[in-house]
């Protein structure tokens, strides 16, 4: 058997490899460092790794040159399995930035009496003396940092994968640590464990679909490689039923990850049950990575087959927006509410994904769908992580108070927190002068330009419903009389404070001067086809 040695291109990959290395190093630290120094070591290690990787992304981004056919910039690494191109790099940077915020939230210890938000001893049964002992011993799982780094690695691999196998591996590497993390809450452990269980079962289920879809596509095209699949689709080899079913199953797996209707069932439970820092990181990061993957798969591999998957996407987008917004209104738990709103946002982003147009149909300087979606992801990511960070501040004796009615009077209790949260909500509602508005504008524009006007109309109507939802919360915070002694706001350490501040700042800046980021997304440009 002849063997062709693949080129690994370590330089372009080193952000990826660095994150993975740091994750492994974290495990080594867990194994050998004494318990006393683990916390600080892990936090420093994780932050250093992420920042280093971020720098790496910038360097690589400056370094990459045009790919041979000239349409896109970047390279195909590791024998064509990983595409380091503009969108990949943009998403890497975004994920890393969000992950830094995540680490800061993970490391927060001031909110809950000097303890992090994670269980002292996950294996100890809740309510047993084993658990109380673990709490008394001031235990905490510092494994969360390596786990998170693995998840980040997956989030970076997922959108950069250039064949179905790598994409599947990325999907799993991103999911598995999150399953565990969402089960590690210190408070309300039963809820948390259930969340983990549901997330895991449904997640594994959906990844099964993804895999079978991949198998069928492989059967159709005879290769896992996106470019090959694209060729096959263009030349229309093989039976189109394989292609159709395969595409459907693949999209089931992917749409589950972004929590699109009808695959959103896990979202509220997991968002509510998981420890809030995890929720923040997961909500922001997973969506970014998964949408990167969705765009790559559907644009690069199945772009030629647009007309068969777009109708499905239309329906799913519309459903997601309406169901998400409508169900969100009925919620009385802030985390569930945000979860459903994230479902609605999935619908909006899908609207942008639908804006796919051949480059010759675009006017010079007109915004492309990739650009729009990337921008929306940026705005959404920061707003979400900020919002959940704020949620982790509002507490009472039993931990966080997530019941919305208990938030009444927050405007008087702590005007700053209330204002920041209201700001995030307005951003999600897409009020002008917040980043959310520009994001909506961008995705709607591309969708309309691509002729998906029914979706845009539906999106507009849905965002009216959604707006009502966010305003409802703002009204509670400002104009309702507090029940009982009203909510208390725990004073955060600099870590959470930084995260919230950065989130708010980004949300504001992107709302007022979105130009630079939009241009960056434009420079990120096209996928390597």
């Amino acid at each position: 058997m002849e063997f062709v040695k693949p080129s690994v291109d370590y330089f372009e990959l080193w952000p990826l490899l660095l994150v993975f290395g740091v994750a492994c190093l974290g495990v080594v630290v867990e194994a050998f460092a004494p318990r006393a120094v683990r916390y600080i070591t892990q936090v420093v290690l994780a932050l250093a790794g992420l920042v280093g990787a971020l720098v790496g992304v910038v360097l690589v981004a400056q370094d990459v040159t045009t790919y041979d056919d000239g349409a896109a910039r970047g390279i195909l690494a590791v024998g064509g399995t990983i595409a380091v191109d503009g969108p990949s790099l943009f998403i890497w940077g975004l994920v890393l930035a969000l992950a830094i915020g995540g680490v800061l939230l993970f490391a927060e210890r001031h909110l809950d009496g000097g303890m992090s938000a994670f269980a002292g001893q996950a294996s100890a049964v809740p309510g047993t003396d084993a658990e109380t002992a673990a709490v008394a011993a001031n235990r905490e799982h510092t494994e969360v940092y390596p786990l998170m780094m693995f998840a980040v690695f997956g989030m970076m691999l997922f959108p950069a994968a250039n064949d179905l196998l790598t994409m599947f591996v990325g999907l799993e590497v991103l999911s598995l640590p999150l399953y565990l993390l969402s089960g590690l809450a210190r408070r309300r452990r039963l809820l948390s464990q259930e969340a983990a269980l549901k997330y895991f079962l449904l997640g594994a289920f959906s990844s099964g679909f993804f895999l079978y879809g991949a198998a069928l596509l492989y059967g159709y095209a005879g290769s896992m490689d996106f470019a090959r699949i694209n060729e096959a689709v263009r030349n229309d080899v093989g039976s189109s039923s394989l292609l159709l079913i395969g595409t459907g199953l693949l999209s089931v797996g992917l749409l589950f990850k972004v929590g699109a209707v009808p695959f959103q069932a896990w979202t509220p439970d997991v968002y509510q049950g998981a420890p809030t820092p995890v929720t923040a990181f997961m909500a922001a990061g997973t969506k970014v990575a998964a949408f990167g993957a969705i765009m790559r798969l559907f644009y690069v591999a199945l772009g030629a087959d647009r007309w068969s998957w777009q109708p499905m996407m239309w329906i799913i987008a519309i459903l997601s927006m309406f169901v998400g917004a409508a169900l969100a209104i009925t919620q009385n738990d802030i985390k569930r509410l945000l979860a459903y709103s994230s479902v609605a946002h999935t619908g909006f982003i899908l609207t942008g994904v639908l804006g796919l147009q051949a480059s010759d149909q675009l006017a010079p300087g007109e915004i492309t769908s990739v650009q729009a979606v990337l921008f929306y992801l940026t705005t959404y990511g920061f707003a979400t992580i900020g919002a959940f960070a704020v949620v982790s501040l509002v507490r009472d004796a039993g931990g966080e108070t997530t019941a919305i009615e208990r938030w009444a009077g927050l405007g008087k209790e702590s005007p700053v927190v209330a204002a920041v949260f209201a700001f995030f909500l307005l951003a999600m509602a897409g009020i002008p002068l917040t980043s959310g508005f520009v994001g909506k504008l961008a995705v709607f524009s591309v969708a309309l330009a691509a002729g998906a006007w029914p979706v845009v109309v539906a999106a507009v109507l849905a965002s009216i419903v959604a707006a009502f939802l966010y305003i409802k919360v703002i009204k509670v915070m400002y104009f309702d009389e507090p029940v009982g002694d009203g909510p208390k706001v725990a004073y955060p350490s600099v870590l959470t404070a930084t995260t919230i501040a950065v989130g708010a700042a980004v949300t504001l800046v992107l709302g007022v001067v979105p130009g630079p980021v939009l241009d960056l997304a434009a420079v990120a440009g096209e996928f390597i086809r």
């Binding site: 058997m1 002849e2 063997f3 040695k5 492994c24 495990v27 080594v28 867990e30 194994a31 050998f32 294996s123």
Partner: protein, 119 residues
Amino acid sequence: MELYTPILVLAALATGFAVFSVVISAFTGPKRYNRAKLDSYECGIEPTPQPVGGGRFPVKYFITAMLFIVFDIEIIFLYPWAVHFEAMRLFGLVEMVLFIVTVFIAYAYVWRRGGLDWD
């Protein structure tokens, strides 16, 4: 598939023998009913009823099983690599060393956390 049919022949032979002896023992042996004899053996004391599903096991067995899976998977990758090693040479070696080291990190973690201790 020619290569595999002989195996089936042998397997059929063995199965036939096994089934035969299981069946035949029902007829050759005597049948003398005795309640105590049908109880599960508990050193003579009154046997304790088994909890449904065999009850709960020490978590150690679980951990062992998981470790086994991990290493079995590693072996899955080692075998083809070993067989085609001559083709890959240095590249293969380096990649495999990286792979082994990665697995080894997890192994070290388990070891240090007492996952391998049976006391």
